[in-house]
Symmetry: C2
Amino acid sequence: MTTESPRLRADARRNVEGIRAAALDVFRTQGLNCPLDEVARAAGVSKGTIYHRFGGRQGLIDAVVEDLVAERIRGIIAAATEVPDPVERFETYLRQIWLLQYDEPAANDVLLRALPGSAPVAALCEHASTMAAGFLAEAQAAGGIREDLTPDDVYLLIWERGIIARACDQQPREGYRRRLEFTLRGLRTTT
Amino acid sequence: MTTESPRLRADARRNVEGIRAAALDVFRTQGLNCPLDEVARAAGVSKGTIYHRFGGRQGLIDAVVEDLVAERIRGIIAAATEVPDPVERFETYLRQIWLLQYDEPAANDVLLRALPGSAPVAALCEHASTMAAGFLAEAQAAGGIREDLTPDDVYLLIWERGIIARACDQQPREGYRRRLEFTLRGLRTTT
DNA sequence: ACGGTTCTTGACCATGACGTCAAGTAACGC
DNA sequence: GCGTTACTTGACGTCATGGTCAAGAACCGT
């Protein structure tokens, strides 16, 4: 996937890389819905080139999503898996995902499933959802999380946070973080 | 305020009323940020007339906000005040406000303070915030709500719900309602 | 019924985004 | 070098919104 087509003229190859790099940069800070002109300008090419090379926003996202956010999300899943206590594991997962949504608008866009037609993105979400469902089940089995919480609820909790994080522009991170704990508290069976 | 200027030509008066009525209708279902052309079309006048008569969106909102949402919000405050138990009172208030945000996009826009320059709107918010702070203090005094919850937190909880309600288009009301209880649960001291 | 005044209209400008394509430019093979 | 082909450009068309204003329409007093 990284080694595009077999033969690509030198300047084209250069541009593809430049665009990818620029997209990583711009998407990272502005989210996946930023104007493509921004990316083009950052890459020092014209908008047309992006359309020509990647076929539009969708294609460009597919080309960078792995480097852009997959690592982060997988990292969070892995880190959570390490936590021995099931309840703490579930909560750690949620907390980290929620913070990621605040910190990285691009990851947030992915988790919000705002990119309907993208295979890699869909796969990533699928994986995250599956793991989340597992963490939830284990935490519930351990008795620490309300029994009536469903995997769908967990997805919606993440979706809701994402919507909020998107609008959070001004809100300081600390306040956001603090309110996460209120929400978590509402999912527990114990005090 | 309702009886505009002393002398207004008959057609103008008719139009003002028509526009107000149309605005109530359109704002109610689409929120306060809908294109003004919509309102104009619904009123059977041209966009220019709205600008001429009301000076723009802001003025139009000021002219209808009272009939549009003030009543609802004040009603919720009044209903909550009736509840004898302080904790239940606080929770009733939040629940009702949250549901209002789901049911009426216009009210939501008001509560989100998305209309910076409008005096009536600001006054309404101010009143709601003050009452909310009171309910909170009483609920805390009764020992049913976390001590570390501040009036600011309450405002933000409402703000967050508003952002969510706005994006909720599809989400069924029942699910929204159900998740409110999770959030409320997170604010309590008791189980 | 007519003139003067008030009102309304809808075409117009501006913005900011997406997406396209003919024409110009640059690399590559020979 | 030089022609051929691949590649890039940026102006252009489009859409959706906000907002303005000269010119025409409607009203009202006399």
